[in-house]
Symmetry: C2
Subunit: 232 residues, 2 copies
């Protein structure tokens, strides 16, 4: 449909196709989650499925490229938290910002909650953001604002739980997550009120989340068609 | 396969078919959620799909009958909470029990979190349990153990959030929900540490949860086959 023509260099069309595919992917993934049909993405972009696969050989490649700007915003939230003068404001502002990003974007909720870690290209970005967040957590603990038994892995629980709230309430009660997150932040305040069960090990949590991401894409990029999807 | 034969009254076979269908439904729903294929339920029960539809004309009928014992347990948890001598133990024990029930059973997680309210027969049971829980909440508030701004609708947020945690972690980190729920109970302890955003109105929350249940079953009981389902 947008093949090379009229003497324009091929790479111009290729770049335009690439942008059209990424824009369509963001829209389709945001509406349906990252397990949406790639055929539908190609259709919305006005390209053939073969063109899509040429540009993005795997679903992960497409997800990573489509959400690169969002992931940059995620990393930026961590950087802003580090820069915040008050340690608790830094920590709580970060939790609220990331949960707000989940609430705005079904696709992003999936990316953060389900492929954390999982998608190689996003992993690199996430690791960078994660390093920043670790600093925010340690500073809030040292300041006496964040309970001492809070661990980084608890943030993954926050994202998984918030995804559960957001997925159910996004249409009819779109601000439900704000009250939920306010409760959680109260729970994280020092001093802790009760002895918590042991934290989940990072390894087990990563396996859990990776498996979930895999289960949701059982056949890789080509195994799905547009009409088999169960909307959530 | 189990048709009337050998002079046995038809109702004996009918009752046996019914039990086989319910047992298969519990297994399939627990493994795949309540939007699983009814053809698969029939197959596992060793009956034809026509027999299943004769016994259970709608998916809701089957869900309600399959989970009636679980719903009785849910009502029982509320009754036990009312009977608990200590008001906070009653409240926190109830929250832990219901979240533990979600964690044990993917199908039950769906029933409580997504069709609350939604399925008529389950609704009656849920309303009964809910009346009991309301007493537990009010007693814990009067006792000064539960923060005054806690409302019944917050329990729905707990179930939606816990479903998010449980669905992601059930295989590799099956006790992750325990730490998550311990955090929430700390958040619910009186006095509240921060001013919360307004609670979500019961009407909006019900609409949200009803819609989600509907979206997950877009075509009613006969619109799905066994192979289109996206595992979660």
């Amino acid at each position: 449909m947008t093949g090379s023509s009229g003497g324009r260099p091929l790479r111009v069309d290729a770049a335009r196709n690439r942008e059209a595919i990424l824009e369509a992917a963001r829209e389709v993934f945001a509406a349906q989650g990252t397990d949406a049909s790639l055929e539908e993405v190609a259709r919305c972009a006005g390209v053939g499925i073969a063109t899509l696969y040429r540009r993005f050989p795997t679903r992960d490649d497409l997800v990573a490229a489509a959400f690169a700007p969002k992931m940059a915003a995620y990393a930026q939230a961590a950087a802003a938290a580090v820069a915040e003068a008050d340690a608790w404001e830094g920590f709580s502002g970060y939790v609220r910002t990331v949960c707000a990003m989940q609430a705005c974007d079904a696709g992003f909720a999936d990316v953060v909650a389900l492929t954390f870690p999982g998608t190689r290209a996003l992993d690199r970005q996430l690791r960078k953001a994660t390093a920043g967040v670790n600093g925010v957590i340690e500073r809030a603990k040292a300041d006496g604002a964040l309970r001492q038994d809070f661990v980084m892995e608890d943030l993954v629980l926050v994202l998984l739980a918030n995804a559960g709230v957001v997925n159910a309430t996004s249409r009819h009660a779109p601000d439900a997550w704000e009250r939920f997150v306010a409760y959680l932040l109260d729970a994280f305040r020092a001093p802790g009120r009760s002895q918590l069960p042991e934290p989940v090990s990072a390894t087990r949590l990563a396996a859990a989340v990776r498996r979930q991401a895999r289960v949701r894409r059982p056949d890789g990029p080509s195994g799905r068609t547009g009409h088999e999807r169960v909307p959530r």
